[in-house]
Amino acid sequence: MNLKELYQEIILEHGKNPRNLRKTNNFNKDAKGNNPLCGDNVHVYLKLNNQRKVEDISFEGSGCAISMASASIMTDLIKGKSDNEAKEIIDDFLGMIKENPELKSSILEEDDKTKLMCLSGVKQYPMRVKCATLSWHTLISAMEDDGKQVSTED
């Protein structure tokens, strides 16, 4: 195990200064997620326009450096994408955290991939995987408008 791999500069920086930590004006989709075991919570807001493009995405909540950085990077990457592109990125990220060594999606620029791969350090820390994935699962719930509250313990 290697703490340096878990707490890379990008993670610490995004954790300290999370992007899009606010509430989107006139959002039309949202969902809440929480991790009951540790008390982390996140609320993701989304504004999809008529062309099914993510005009704005933001989040509110509190959590560890990993979960804040993950939500911050996620909102940065999803903004401006179509809903189908967003779904592809989400699947790619969750696939990478779960089992894939690399990100596969061609939508992502190399820079974006580097940022996301910074979160791969959690793979060595099974208890921390949930911290990295909570906001992503919550985004899925918001996009699907299923009205369910996401919980890491379901």
């Binding site: 540790c38 008390g39 450096a65």
Partner: protein, 406 residues
């Protein structure tokens, strides 16, 4: 037994944890087990195993005697008046559910009130919460003061003519505050209020005298008392256990079963339905003997010294903020570090073999009150030493370095 050699009794400290010596500061969560307890489980299954209280063959009778011996040891250890006031459960959680459920059925009516405190663990809140719906009762919370304690006045303030039960912890698993159970019970009883104590943190670290405390119920978690998991104890005054209805139905708890009627067994069988955690009960006798061999006065003194030392060291660390500062404090130190989330603290400490707990410690009400989502907690047991806190402080400094704090 010399307190300095106690650590040697615990085989886990011979292990390397991720290449580190283990610095175990998570005893409020669960304590480690001395060799005598581990060996007793093995020995019982190897040489003496049988179910208890049923068959009449040699092994069954011997196992039953061992099982009942533990009941007597517990009775003596907590100074209960009668051995039948000791009920074995699957944990303190089940003990508290048993009390809430049976008291709720028999004694509570619509509009009645139960008084808890803001320090309660979820297991001394959720079972009472069920009664909000089923019985339409109200739950009130006595507030903490600035030190993270519950002064008696804060309890008295919340008592009304409708208060039927006060359910409180003995020692807070977050702030470490020790509650004045005896005084609270005196006030409660003068108003005809039943007192239920969540003794999970009190039992391993404080002197227990049920007749002196005079509370009506006291729940104990055995795995926090250097004993096996899967076992708890409910102490209940005999008059209550006799009057209250049974909790779970099944084998062992009945007197007579007919197609049209059932009568229930006498205490303590009435509350011990089904095959119990037999090996755990029998091994728990060794936990009691272990505690007795050290002496609770020595344990209290040792843990007080440790926690004072820990407090002193962490107070000097300018990034650390301690949670609560009760005058009468048990072996729990909860803290936050400005700019580092407790989970990140726990992961970084773990890398050095320092085991602490991070989260809300099953006390969301308290964390909401303190307006923090989570905290980090170091808690002690008999095996801890001052050097454990030195290591804790060094590892905290490592956190600060990673997060670039001064």
């Amino acid at each position: 037994m010399n307190i300095n050699t106690i650590k040697k009794e615990f085989p886990i400290f011979d292990e390397k944890i991720q290449n580190n010596d283990l610095v175990y500061l998570d005893s409020a969560n669960s304590s480690q087990k001395p060799k005598v307890v581990i060996d007793r489980i093995n020995e019982f299954y190897t040489k003496e195993f049988s179910n208890v209280g049923r068959s009449i063959h040699y092994l069954a009778v011997a196992a039953t005697n061992l099982y009942e011996n533990t009941r007597i040891s517990v009775q003596k250890y907590i100074n209960a008046k009668d051995k039948n006031e000791i009920v074995f459960t699957k944990g303190a959680t089940e003990a508290l559910n048993l009390v809430a459920n049976t008291l709720g059925q028999k004694y509570l009516n619509e509009g009645d009130e139960i008084l808890l405190t803001e320090l309660e663990h979820h297991s001394n809140y959720v079972p009472w919460h069920y009664l909000r719906k089923s019985k339409n009762i109200k739950i009130n919370f006595a507030e903490i003061n600035e030190y993270g304690e519950i002064p008696i006045e804060n309890i008295e303030k919340k008592i009304t003519s409708k208060t039927k039960i006060i359910a409180i912890n003995h020692l807070s698993n977050v702030t470490g505050a020790i509650l004045p159970i005896k005084e609270i019970t005196e006030i409660a009883h003068s108003k005809g209020i039943i007192v239920v104590v969540d003794g999970c943190q009190g039992a391993p670290h404080l002197k227990l005298d049920m007749q002196d405390l005079d509370c009506d119920f006291y729940a104990i978690s055995c795995h926090k008392m250097y004993g096996p998991t899967g076992l708890g104890i409910l102490y209940g005054k005999k008059k209550w256990l006799e009057e209250l209805p049974p909790y779970q139905g099944g084998g062992g708890m009945i007197k007579e079963v007919k197609k049209d009627r059932i009568t229930y067994g006498d205490l303590p069988n009435k509350y011990e339905a089904g095959t119990m955690a037999t090996a755990q009960v029998i091994a728990f006798d060794k936990s009691i003997k272990f505690l007795e061999s050290i002496g609770i006065e020595n344990i209290i003194k040792h843990e007080k010294e440790l926690i004072e030392y820990g407090q002193e060291i962490l107070k000097k660390n300018n990034s650390v903020k301690l949670i609560g500062n009760p005058k009468n404090k048990g072996g729990v130190l909860s803290f936050t570090i400005e700019g580092v989330h407790p989970h990140d603290i726990a992961t970084i400490l773990d890398e050095d073999g320092v085991a602490i707990r991070a989260g809300h410690h099953c006390c969301q009400i308290l964390h909401d009150k303190l307006a923090i989502p989570a905290s980090a907690r170091a808690s002690v047991g008999v095996y801890n030493t001052k050097s454990d806190f030195d290591q804790l402080n060094d590892s905290i400094n490592k956190c600060k370095k990673i997060f670039d704090l001064k």
